[in-house]
Amino acid sequence: MSVVEWTRHRLFGATEDPVSLRGAFRTIGVTSLVSVILVTTLFPLYWTVNTSFKPAPETQTFPPTFVPETFTVSPYVDILTGAGSSVLVNSVIVSVGATAIAMLIGVPAGYAYARNPGKVGGKHLAFWILSLRMFPPIAPILPLFFMFRQVGMIDTYPTMMLLYLTFNVPLVVWLMRSFFQDIPQAVEEAAIMDGYSRLEAFFKVSLPLVSPGIVTTTLLVWIFSWNEFQFALVFTRNAAQTYPVIIPSLVGGHATLWNQVAALSVLAMIPIIVISLLMQKRLVRGLTLGAVKG
């Protein structure tokens, strides 16, 4: 078996073309293009991981080191014993709380708009809810800041969880509407014939059937809350400060802690990587607001 043939076999499994010069060129072309895509995507991520394991002076040497010369985990220790652990804990609390509330409020509404939009303002109100998600965040931030400041509720967990409802609820309503629409109404009707009330049919029949959709929506909402920056920048100071806010402050000014900020970024990315591995194609539907069903 030639190298080209072997590579092709490993990469693409059996192909119908017989091994030929043309096939060989094609394999080389495809392999190099795939490699270019992978390197471009991954190099920036690699560089961050690389930086996060260097001692501070080594982050500013020329030429830069493509593998840490002195491998150290002290950037992780330093950031976690410094500002890092409290912002990560805050981020976990705010993002989990925000997601839970958004799901509690949004899932039933999504169901209502899937089953009987006519009773709750019609399809146009559903579209209007979705359009709220397209506001630039700064637009609601300005009046909300003024209001929350008046009642002295800046920089608290409940405030952040509440604020994140402004963009999470529209997303949950819209996505869950799309997922509930996939479940034939006939299964609920059958349950109602068996004596369930509509509320029981919802809890015992529809909700279990839609659980993959709930998982997708929950994870997506969580990611958006975990990554949120503009609201956190305006509404948090200390007590509720989340990790995206301290990243720019760590690289501002003269004392630039490149290795520590890289370590914090790596830590913040870990859950994202896990979720990406778990969700794969289901994310596409979520990210297109249910329009593209993978």
């Binding site: 209502a112 399809k123 004596g195 009330s197 509320l199």
Partner: protein, 314 residues
């Protein structure tokens, strides 16, 4: 079936609870969401609209919200900085989305035609990573890469003799550097959506084209492109709205500088509110930005609504 008829008996109750459970279920299900959105978005935005006609400034005690008519709007529309930041945003959204779409479409079609099995799965998974991470982290990563004196990009460019461009410190390049980071983060979004859209086209259509002896270009032009119209519109509009909304990457990479060379409109709006505390002018600017967002959103919704006639857009 005995138990189910017992259930029937049990639930023939009358009164409020069955009323809530049955006839008005949708109503009770939708009310919390609608109330929350009313309280957290609609009411504040009405306050914001009113404020945009006043001189409210949180740092000047005498400017406590007197009505000034359209003065804030007039100030903005005649200010050079306003138009600079609008121009920057137009450039950022326009070029960003155009490049991301072109690259993404090409790679999506490449993947659909040439990669199989495990390679596709690996590509798919790895491409998810950039777009799932916080834009602020993506911006930070590119700030590391673009370091002028010791970053890896300038080292490699220097090694091949291109020189060391001042990526973030030159007015000519700063916005383009932020754009590069945006393209890195969001081209995968285009790839994945367009790839999914391409795969949902029935193979029969390609088979028919093959039988008719259509060449590749003809097949692309008359099968792929028309079949993917809906997905393409969705991908472009979603991306345009997001590129317009967020200033996260710009914030961490350049802070809008040098000068205002990379300052985006949403960031200028932020500064008006939280740097100069002039709420009147800031709310006026957000209403101007909202007008643009509403236009984009309406186009998007009409595409989506057309798709709802059938059961899906793709």
């Amino acid at each position: 079936m005995a138990s189910s008829s017992d259930d029937t008996q049990a639930h023939r109750s009358t009164g409020l609870s069955s009323y809530v459970r049955n006839e008005h279920l949708e109503y009770w299900f939708a009310i919390p969401a609608l109330l929350i959105l009313l309280a957290l978005v609609i009411f504040p935005m009405l306050w914001s609209l009113w404020t945009s006609f006043t001189d409210l400034n949180l740092s000047v005690a005498t400017r406590n919200g007197a009505f000034v008519g359209l003065a804030n709007y007039a100030d903005l529309l005649t200010s050079e900085r306003f138009w600079t930041t609008i121009g920057n945003t137009a450039y950022y959204v326009g070029f960003g989305v155009a490049i991301e779409f072109t690259l993404g479409f090409a790679i999506a079609l490449f993947m659909a035609n040439y990669t199989r099995g495990r390679v596709t799965t690996v590509l798919f998974t790895l491409l998810l990573l950039p777009m799932m991470m916080a834009p602020i982290v993506a911006g930070l990563i590119w700030r590391l890469l673009f370091q002028e004196s010791f970053g890896p990009i300038n080292y490699l460019l220097g090694a091949v003799g291109v020189g060391q461009p001042p990526w973030l410190s030159s007015t000519a390049m700063s916005l383009n550097s932020v754009l590069i980071a945006d393209i890195w983060q969001w081209t995968p979004f285009m790839i994945l959506i367009l790839y999914t859209g391409r795969l949902s086209i029935s193979e029969d259509l390609y088979e028919a084209a093959r039988i008719d002896g259509a060449d590749r270009w003809f097949t692309f032009r008359h099968v792929t492109l028309p079949q993917m119209k809906g997905v393409i519109a969705i991908a472009i509009l979603l991306r345009a709205m997001d590129a317009f909304k967020f200033f996260d990457k710009m914030f961490v990479m350049t802070g809008g500088g040098p000068g205002t060379s990379s300052e985006l409109a949403t960031y200028y709006n932020y500064l008006l509110g939280f740097d100069s505390f002039s709420m009147g002018k800031a709310t006026a600017m957000s209403w101007l930005l909202l007008l643009f967002a509403v236009v984009l959103a309406n186009v998007f919704l009409s595409v989506l609504e057309r798709g709802e006639g059938g059961d899906r857009v793709v």
